[in-house]
């Protein structure tokens, strides 16, 4: 589909969507009326900038089903996200939503090369979480055999992988590594199993993790992205070129915003990812702020798909620091550190203000195998990290090499930032 045809389709769908929420969701009607916007003002996809945003807080405030557009009798499935703080997020799906979800999940699997000849294990949790059932339906839609392994029983999972000659798997990347470890511990190797394709998502991961998963499980590892508020797994996916994730933009329209000013950012700029559900009828959302940080790529992909792609998620916008006027996300620092085997996957950021100038110190622990008796190579290691940080952050950071175990282990929400700036 050409860009013009896609934009035309998106514009038509956006108009219908605004009509739907205007007439069926009081929350949106009030917002649109306050902004003096009616569905007739929205005709092209470019008109989207006139529309209000939706936040996670809006979903909580309208708990449980205040943002639902469909009558309860039309809802065929309800998922809920784990609310660690406050109300959980309830998402109701109509039969049409479930059909679309199946189809987009199948698009992902097809891009990974899954066919009806595959046997596919879904190692995401089944239940209120969208991961398990979302991928499950996609696998069935492709026509492959689905094995609903779910989470928890690693021993049985390994046995099934081996005995059923399972060829595909979906799970979190960290579970994939755990599985690889368990495989090796059990005395088997990747040659004892037949995996060839893996779909990994639901948490941030790195290129190094990809390489590790691929070599230890003997498969091709692809990213799958989704979030329950928008649909679930199937919002975007990598193709065989593994160069950004293709967004199913005929259903989920992406925008990138500056998380501070909420102004749209140009293509290629990193900011907060915002989605509008163009075709959803259960709980459609206008410009939902995902808080995920990424950038969009519109250049041609060698695979031939013309859809816009998103880069790897580099973190969450709510952790943002402003240092010397530059937006800095701890996750950017994290991604650099996670990609360097020389350092432990832990860090501490210390922000201070010295002589009216903000300073950023990044404290890291060097891994045992990379310590050197030579001052020169230790300083080189320090410089290597400082250079990479500078190229990612656009400000220079002072790297401080720390002794082993001097930085607290990440357990849940550990404090990774110390902001000593006092503004008086």
């Amino acid at each position: 589909m050409s860009r013009d045809e896609m934009m035309d389709l998106q514009g038509k769908r956006l108009h219908k969507l605004v009509e739907l929420v205007y007439h069926h969701v009081p929350f949106y009607r009030e917002k649109l009326q306050a902004m003096d916007i009616s569905p007739d003002d929205i005709h092209t996809i470019e008109d989207i900038v006139k529309l209000p945003f939706t936040t996670k807080q809006d979903l909580r405030d309208n708990y449980p089903v205040g943002l639902q557009a469909a009558a309860q009798s039309e809802i065929v499935r309800i998922h809920a996200s784990s609310g660690t703080t406050g109300n959980p997020t309830i998402v109701g799906y109509t039969a049409k939503d479930i059909e679309i979800w199946k189809e987009v999940a199948a698009r992902c699997l097809t891009a990974y090369g899954v066919t009806r000849n595959d046997i596919f294990s879904v190692g995401y949790g089944y239940g209120l979480f969208t991961g398990g059932l979302g991928v499950h339906n996609g696998v069935e839609y492709v026509g492959a055999s689905v094995v609903p392994t779910s989470t928890g029983n690693t021993e049985k999972h390994l046995r099934l992988l081996r005995d059923l000659k399972i060829t595909g798997i979906a799970c979190t990347p960290s579970y994939a590594l755990y599985l690889a470890e368990a495989l090796e511990k059990s005395g088997m190797t990747k040659d004892d199993i037949s995996l060839r394709v893996g779909a990994f998502g639901a948490e941030p991961w790195t290129e190094n993790m990809r390489k590790e998963i691929e070599s230890r499980l003997g498969l091709q590892a692809y990213n799958i992205y989704g979030l329950s508020e928008i649909m679930g797994p199937g919002v975007s996916y990598e193709c065989e070129y593994k160069n950004g994730s293709h967004i199913c933009e005929d259903h989920f329209y992406p925008e990138i915003l500056d998380p501070e000013t909420l102004e749209p950012l140009g293509r290629g700029k990193t900011g907060e990812l915002v989605f509008t559900t163009l075709t959803k009828t259960g709980m459609p959302l206008l410009r939902y702020r995902t808080k995920d940080l990424t950038s969009l790529m519109e250049d041609d992909c060698p695979c031939g798909r013309t859809s816009v792609r998103m880069t790897r998620i580099i973190g969450r916008s709510d952790d943002m620091l402003i240092i010397r006027g530059i937006n800095v996300f701890p996750s950017q620092v994290e991604s650099v550190i996670l990609d360097m085997p020389e350092f432990e996957p832990r860090y501490m950021l210390v922000v201070d203000r010295v002589a009216n100038l903000d300073t950023l110190q990044v404290q890291v622990e060097v891994r045992k195998d990379y310590f050197s008796d030579e001052i020169g190579s230790m300083l080189q290691l320090k410089k290597k990290l400082a250079d990479r940080l500078k190229s990612i952050l656009s400000i220079s950071a002072d790297v401080k090499l720390m002794e082993p175990n001097s930085i607290p282990r990440s357990e849940g929400k550990s404090v990774r930032i110390v902001d000593k700036r006092r503004l008086d």
Partner: protein
């Protein structure tokens, strides 16, 4: 004459060197020689001890970053010019010294040398002084 040296990575923090010596004392380990190299935010403490493996074990148990490096230990006469003649030979044979430190007794001085090429350095030294331990 090859000896194993222990290097410990230390943050520049008050009392940190004493943390090392306390662990050594508690485990009844005696240092034969040591030196400290420092940068603006960390230092390396290099030690020569008699029981290398046990020392590494107790230091690692105390969460220190410890590595063991092979270095050259050279015994020469504790007289003016003794070291100079050795270094001249090494330089003439293209051996580069990354760092060195020394400790002297009554009659002799022990010099610890970290050369860029350990094997070549040892060979040259054994040629000029076969009695070197």
């Amino acid at each position: 004459m090859i000896t194993r040296q222990i290097s410990i990575f230390l943050e520049n923090k008050r009392g940190r060197i004493n943390d090392v010596t306390k662990v050594l004392a508690a485990n009844n380990i005696n240092m034969e020689a040591f030196c400290i190299a420092e940068t603006s935010d960390f230092g390396l403490m290099r030690l020569i001890v008699s029981e290398v493996d046990r020392t590494v074990e107790v230091l690692r148990k105390a969460d220190f970053a410890v590595i063991v490096t092979d270095v050259v230990s050279l015994r020469c006469k504790n007289v003016p010019g003794a070291l100079s003649s050795v270094l001249e030979t090494l330089a003439a044979k293209d051996i580069f010294i990354e760092y060195m430190y020394a400790f002297s007794r009554q009659e002799t001085a022990d010099v610890i040398i970290k050369p860029n090429d350990l094997a070549a350095c040892v060979k040259i030294l054994s040629e000029i002084n076969p009695d070197n331990r």
